[in-house]
């Protein structure tokens, strides 16, 4: 009996090992080629029978083998660099600087030229001063063609998709549709609304203002001051673009920042801000917004898309949000009147997207494929899909039924019918279609005027009509011209990484304390905060000043 147990165990082991031998054999077929692809963010493998990838395979003989990010990005990239395990198409996500300095990517300028690849060249040409850098030997290099932000035609701004102060539509409606432009007006309105309507119709108390602080989403806590000072998103620095000195400073340790957090402290004392907001996780935040009880917050539109969808789904349109471009009242900034600029000019997403790795034998073929894919036919396929299935054409206008449009939010559908895993990181056309039979349509269905208008429900149309606006972007000023340095958050600050980490940690820690402290302690605590953060802020700010000037010189030098 005991012998039996033992032999069964051994046998079972052998059998299972032998039965799995086929797994060991991994044969790569050379024709047609399979490109290995790394994406620097999490994602789902596309469906086996995805129709767009099928077309790519038919046309280019190319299949893809995707790897998405499951662990820590920097650590994963580090292993690839140390092991020299590069995929053919390499998207380093937000840490692409690591693989660039790690020498993982080929210089695309060796493959791209006006003669060989006219479409790709035309695609990067308008922004080439920004995109092409000098390597340490002084040669021109381009490692990554930006995956977003190289657009054609006039900038499309239907809504504020980036940072803003948000307020529930019902609050504005209750107050008779006022225009809100300053910090004080904003909080006054919320205060008045809450005084008269302490709870929603279910009896749940309203929360005046939410501040999400979770992990990297702490921009809701630390970023607003630059916008109140009248600048679009430069990350953690405030830059004076009125002169070519581009004076750059960290703003969080300055007196004008104190005004904002002091204001938040007052609102906290008045009960508009709940202390739980500082320990909320993202799911809780979204749940709170979706319940319709949060009247306002500072955030970026894409960050709470799930909540907006849930509110609309529940028919709570009056609880969805309008983006407002607030600035400081003159009293906070020595009587100066600040002009509001929340929306920036189109920003090329520099150093984000696919590069081709130095170990890939297919660089030539990949570039040729991109070149072909920048044709209107392929771009239409990636953006709109297949005519008749995914969209229809009427009088030269590209249109979608409601069902066709809604499909685009269905994850399972997307995995079968769109080639997003590849396309999101590839060079792409954005903005308006400039030539061919469909000239004058938008590349992105979500920007097509007929669709934008068609999607707007009766509540929103009525809401806008009270203001005489046609779109929600009318609540803020039109885009300001993009500064020569781009947007400062794009700048690689690796050399001051440690100081930058300190800089953020101190803010994460102290700002919530400041907002919650007793009013009489505020001034002393603020001074202590400034003293604590000054070393890291100075190191980071000085570095950024230098880097901003260098970036700006690239563009200005060519003019």
């Amino acid at each position: 009996m005991k012998k039996l147990i033992a032999s069964v165990l051994v046998l079972a082991m052998l059998v299972s090992v032998v039965s799995l031998l086929p797994f060991a054999a991994t044969a790569d077929e050379l024709e047609p080629i399979t490109l290995t692809v790394f994406r620097g963010d999490p994602g789902d493998q596309p469906a086996e029978d995805n129709k767009i990838y099928k077309l790519i395979e038919e046309k280019f003989g190319v299949k893809f083998q995707f790897e998405f990010l499951a662990g820590n990005l920097d650590e994963t990239l580090g292993l690839k660099i140390f092991g020299q395990d590069y995929p053919d198409l390499f998207d380093g996500g937000n840490s692409a600087d690591l693989i660039i300095s790690g020498g993982a990517l080929v210089n695309l300028l060796d493959y791209i030229s006006p003669e060989k690849t006219p479409r790709l060249w035309a695609h990067i040409e308008p922004q080439k001063a920004r995109l092409i850098e000098k390597d340490e030997n002084g040669n021109d290099v381009l490692y990554i063609i930006p995956n977003y932000g190289l657009t054609d035609g006039d900038q499309i701004v239907n809504e504020v998709n980036g940072p803003a102060f948000f307020i529930q539509k019902q609050v504005l409606a209750w107050a008779g549709y006022p225009q809100i432009h300053t910090l004080n007006e904003y909080f006054d309105l919320i205060e008045r609304f809450i005084a008269e309507n302490p709870t929603d119709k279910n009896g749940t108390p309203y929360i005046g203002f939410d501040i999400l602080c979770e992990d990297w989403r702490h921009f809701c806590l630390i970023n607003p001051v630059q916008h109140l000072m009248g600048r679009p998103n430069d990350g953690e620095v405030l830059i004076d673009v009125s002169t070519n000195d581009f004076h750059t400073e960290t703003f969080i340790d300055k007196p004008y920042a104190k005004a904002y957090y002091k204001k938040l402290n007052e609102e906290f004392q008045k009960g508009l801000i709940s202390r739980d907001t500082f320990v909320m996780n993202y799911d809780q935040y979204i749940a709170q917004l979706s319940s319709g009880t949060v009247l306002g917050m500072f955030d970026q539109t894409w960050d709470f898309g799930n909540a907006t969808a849930a509110l609309k789904d529940a028919g709570m349109d009056e609880n969805t949000y309008v983006a407002l471009g607030l600035v400081y009242d003159p009293e906070y900034v020595d009587g100066k009147v600040i002009e509001e600029h929340y929306v920036n000019g189109t920003v090329p997403n520099v150093r984000r997207g696919f590069g081709i790795s130095v170990t890939s034998p297919y660089a030539e073929r990949i570039v040729a494929m991109w070149e072909e894919m920048l044709s209107n036919e392929w771009q239409l396929l990636f953006n709109w899909g297949i005519e008749g299935e995914d969209y229809y054409v009427e009088n030269g206008r590209l249109l979608m039924t409601e069902e066709q449009y809604n499909n685009r939010n269905d994850n399972t559908w997307k995995l079968q019918n769109r080639a997003l895993a590849f396309w999101e990181s590839s060079p792409k056309k954005q903005g308006w279609i400039m030539d061919g039979p469909y000239a004058g349509n938008a590349w992105d269905p979500a920007n097509q005027p007929e669709i934008v208008l068609g999607l707007m429900n009766a509540y929103d149309q009525d809401f806008l009509s009270h203001y005489g606006f046609s779109k929600f972007a009318d609540f803020v000023n039109p885009p300001i011209e993009l500064a020569p340095y781009g947007e400062a958050w794009q700048i690689d600050y690796t050399p001051v990484d440690v100081e930058h980490t300190d800089f953020l940690n101190i803010q994460d820690q102290r700002l919530p304390e400041l907002i919650m402290c007793a009013p009489e302690e505020f001034d002393a605590k603020w001074d202590a905060f400034v003293e604590e953060i000054t070393p890291s802020a100075t190191a980071f700010g000085d570095y950024m000043q230098k880097a901003v000037l260098e970036e700006a010189a690239k563009v200005l030098g060519n003019e």
């Binding site: 009996m1 005991k2 147990i5 033992a6 165990l9 051994v10 082991m13 299972s16 799995l20 797994f23 060991a24 290995t36 620097g40 963010d41 999490p42 789902d44 493998q45 995707f66 998405f68 990010l69 499951a70 662990g71 990005l73 580090g78 292993l79 140390f82 092991g83 395990d85 995929p87 937000n94 995956n147 977003y148 932000g149 998709n161 980036g162 992990d215 990297w216 990350g235 993202y282 799911d283 749940a287 709170q288 319940s291 970026q300 894409w302 960050d303 799930n306 909540a307 849930a310 789904d313 529940a314 920003v347 997403n349 984000r352 994850n411 399972t412 995995l415 997003l420 999101e424 947007e487």
Partner: protein, 304 residues
């Protein structure tokens, strides 16, 4: 037989009180530990957009099978389940095989290499060379990356389990080994014929540890097989779904255009449904192992 002997005795007052209090305590504990599980199940059966609003307790608010349908529609799940199941079985058997023998050898006080080998083994639990040297060894030196073997070969042994089995063997009567040795049996025979069959409870325990560890591991897939979708494990798929909610630490460093398309979070319901799907197999296997270590073996009968 022990239990019956105890039960035959006349019950005293506290023999009624204690079991009652004990039962109540355990039921309360069951509820407390069951709550998060039921909550997860409730979420998994809730409609996705509605679940975003939170506040679901022990029962779905808007019942829907959509999350399960979405997962089951993905053929990758079946392949991943097969990978996870097969590697778990193989690793468990291999671990029991090697670790059991080693534990026996190291439980023999007369074995001259005992202290040296034990120390070498124990230290493996505390020294760690760091991720990169390990990665280079497995991926480059041994060339195991991108193959099924990377799941098996580096995880054939764990010191912790060796200690657990060794402690158990040390608790067995020495006379068992001695009398067999007098009969002329060698150590290998003694282990397989006498010790191993007595070790069923601890073997079941270790089998559970190894199996659960292997079933739950995703990091090996992430490191070595992330690009090989035919080698993805179930937990790796789950981890991928969870990762979309946490996103990368500096995702704020990208243009809003890009964020709009890439920060779509996985609905909480899908996350929960995958958790349920990946836990059910363990629930099914568990009772078969549990009967060994909860009921135990009638030690007395073999000792005679």
């Amino acid at each position: 037989m022990t239990t019956t002997a105890i039960q035959k005795r006349p019950r005293k007052h506290r023999d009624v009180v204690f079991p009652t209090v004990n039962a109540i305590l355990l039921v309360v504990l069951m509820f407390v530990t069951l709550y998060p599980v039921i909550n997860t199940v409730a979420y998994s059966f809730n409609e996705g957009t509605d679940a975003v609003r939170g506040g679901i307790g022990l029962w779905p608010r808007v019942f829907s099978l959509k999350s399960y349908e979405a997962i089951m529609a993905d053929s990758a799940v079946y392949q991943a389940a097969w990978i996870s199941a097969s590697k778990t079985v193989i690793i468990t058997l291999l671990n029991l095989f090697w670790t059991g023998m080693l534990s026996f050898a190291l439980s023999r006080k007369e074995y001259v290499l005992r202290r040296f080998i034990t120390l070498a083994m124990v230290l493996t639990m505390y020294v760690n060379a760091g991720l990169i040297p390990n990665y280079l060894l497995i991926s480059k030196t041994l060339g195991l990356a991108k193959s099924y073997w990377v799941y098996i070969i580096p995880t054939m042994f764990s010191c912790f389990n060796m200690i657990v089995i060794r402690t158990y063997i040390a608790g067995l009567p020495d006379a068992l080994v001695e009398s067999a040795r007098i009969d002329g049996a060698g150590d290998i025979r003694i282990y397989w014929q006498i010790i191993f069959p007595l070790c069923m409870p601890v073997m079941a325990t270790v089998a559970l540890f190894v199996a659960v560890g292997s079933w739950n591991s995703w990091f090996d897939t992430h490191l070595y097989c992330a690009g090989q979708k035919q080698l993805h494990s179930l937990q790796y798929l789950l981890k991928m779904k969870l990762a979309t909610t946490q996103a990368s630490a500096n995702a704020a460093k990208t243009s809003t255009d890009a964020l709009k398309s890439t920060t779509q979070t996985t609905p909480v319901t899908i996350r929960c449904a995958i958790t349920v799907i990946s836990t059910v197999p363990i629930l099914i296997v568990y009772p078969f192992l549990q009967k060994y270590f909860v009921t135990g073996m009638a030690l007395g009968s073999v000792k005679g």
